[in-house]
Symmetry: C2
Subunit: 386 residues, 2 copies
């Protein structure tokens, strides 16, 4: 177990299990840089069975981490998918061996820009190499090698986690039985590239970013990262939900103050979202991971069609979208379903009616829980596991 | 004519006509502050007829100004509604006397935070009083007094301009014959309050903002204002248009560079939008005007219903929305139409099918031009003018 300096306040936290990967053989990133002996932080829940065929890999989203359930070591709050994962829950840890790794490029112990570059003894900062969704899942594949899992029963994840699931389906089709890409797309759209660019510009505009060397200068681009998070957070919710939850209600006041304080509850809420994010996330990781998302494109710049990407797939697919998600709308999932149908893949698709927006996959949406439970149980019967 | 220091580069530009208002009697802002002898910069096009009944007031949007047509003195580009306004155009300056005033709070010569506070001899900065949409249109009413116009033939504007038009319809129903609020809403929604809060936080996070005193320190929060503009600009376009116009195309390169440069065309475009805005707009004006927009609510915090707001109106209304506008969606216009119908108002509503998003009212959308032309011509017949 390794302790890591973390976030805006430089606390040291125990991030749990860490494995050093690529010790014997270098790992070549898609950008061409070779890395070796790099850390991957992960958590597991439940027990790997004797046949080693009950492993479910959960892929986390942009700001997520390996703390799927249990208490998060930085925030002290429950893990991000506590609702979904645990004994008797849709992803039942009594039956399945659940693995979640902090993606490379992130900041909860895995190889990322805040880690120390052994060559210089300083944090990588912008000397960190660029990583892709492909690199992220190839590192996860090394982890499951390490854990003795030849083939995953299932890979599942939402948003950027869904991109990783799609990479698993296309890069390692022989190493996974079923996949559930949720609220995601086959490639990052222009609008979503734009949203991420805004976030990066907000961070890089903060002089405390120090050209990426803030850790070296004991500074932190808190304001820039908070703005980036606020801008992103709005895209995770739906207009209807914002209107219903906040509307024009005022924050602990009866009248507007004719000032720039957070007069409206929605303003106060957003500021809180920005500030709390700064406490738990690394600004350079935000840059690198949004870059990886913008590079994500299953068709490799149109060099293949989407049906060609999935041609011959034997996997069982479960796609889910949420009606009010405007970041990765149902249209994106339907495009994937169309391509999968064109190659006669085994695919189910559920568009869930909800006003909770993109973040629905993290929120209380009973129909979603039931969909995942059904897919996992049905797949388990077919696979003869659990 | 007065010359004004302007924008990030402190150029002095001739902003055209300026009238000093409230010379005899103080003007009480809704925030309670009294102002007097304040400047309002404006342009007129065409000629006021002998009956003084052919005046059309155009209300500009957040980042607009009085330069509706002709050459803009700062950018050197055509005015923002050059398409719509001019001889023979839908708003025909051969027939109508067109007035457009820079809104108070803005930065093209009207009373705004970059103007010099006579009491201190320094730019107002954050000592500028808070203004509302109501204050903006009451100042416009003083301008039309000055121009000798008792009653406007029409008030027209899109987005924040549409809010002003709605204020005209409800505050001065006896002083306007017809109104065209375009791509707007009866109140700022939670989501739109959120977007504006993000923009303000981006500006205020920039240390060169200097707590609003950047002019005094010869600095400018260029990075913060650019981020604010980038974040706003995405909301002005539709996802479909972004995908069609930019998609995932790369900016003057064949491959991604594995870097934080603007690899994608959409990134380059957004950066350009941010940077060019900084050259022409004042950061504090952006704060004040977005604040005014967030305070906009025809129902005054729900103290009246929307039908009560319009009860007894004799005005001729023309509402227009654009199908792909997600900032002020058609739902908002329909809510207004429903309220107007409930009080038997004379209202037409057109939802125009286009993928050009909120900015449609500024872009080449022939059906929109035809709608406005038809409304103006029909109203002119009824009013016996032009």
């Amino acid at each position: 177990m390794v302790k890591h300096a973390f976030g805006a306040n430089y606390r040291e936290v125990d991030v749990g299990e860490i494995v050093m990967l690529a010790r014997d053989k270098p790992f070549v990133l898609e950008c061409g840089v070779e890395i070796s002996d790099f850390p991957l932080a992960y958590q597991t829940y439940g027990t790997l069975n004797a046949k080693r065929n009950n492993a479910i890999l959960i892929c986390h989203a942009l700001s997520g981490d390996q703390y799927v359930t249990g208490t998060h070591p930085v925030t002290g709050k429950p893990g991000w998918w506590d609702r979904m994962v645990g004994p008797g829950k849709p992803i039942d840890t009594n039956r399945f061996f659940v693995i979640c790794a902090n993606v490379i490029g992130s900041c909860m112990g895995s190889f990322g820009p805040k880690e120390t570059n052994p060559a210089t003894g300083k944090p990588y900062g912008l000397s960190f190499p660029f990583i892709t969704m492909g690199d992220i899942v190839r590192a996860q594949a090394l982890l499951i090698d390490h854990l003795g899992v030849e083939k995953l029963f299932c890979a599942i994840g939402g948003s950027m986690g869904g991109m990783q699931v799609l990479e698993w389906a296309t890069r390692f089709p022989e190493r996974v039985f079923s996949v559930a890409p949720i609220a995601t797309a086959s490639r990052q759209s222009a609008q979503n590239i734009a949203f991420h660019e805004i976030g990066r510009q907000a961070i890089m505009a903060d002089p405390d970013w120090c050209d990426g060397d803030y850790l070296l200068h004991r500074k932190y681009p808190s304001k820039g990262l908070a703005v980036a998070r606020m801008a992103a957070h709005v895209t995770y919710l739906s207009e209807a939900m914002l209107q219903q939850k906040f509307g024009r209600s005022l924050q602990n006041r009866e009248k507007v103050t004719y000032g720039f304080d957070a007069d409206f509850s929605i303003e106060s809420y957003l500021r809180h979202q920005g500030m709390s994010f700064v406490e738990r996330f690394d600004a350079n990781s935000y840059l690198y991971l949004t870059r990886a998302a913008s590079y994500f494109d299953l068709t490799q710049g149109g060099s293949k069609t989407l049906p060609e990407v999935f041609a011959g797939t034997k996997l069982r697919f479960c796609l889910v979208s949420f009606s009010s998600d405007w970041l990765y709308s149902s249209i994106e999932s339907r495009n994937l379903v169309r391509a999968l149908n064109a190659v006669a893949a085994n695919v189910s698709f559920t568009e869930i009616e909800t006003d909770k927006g993109h973040d629905s996959f993290l929120l209380e949406v009973p129909e979603f829980d039931a969909t995942i439970r059904g897919f996992i149980n049905g797949s388990a019967l077919l696979y003869g596991v659990g």
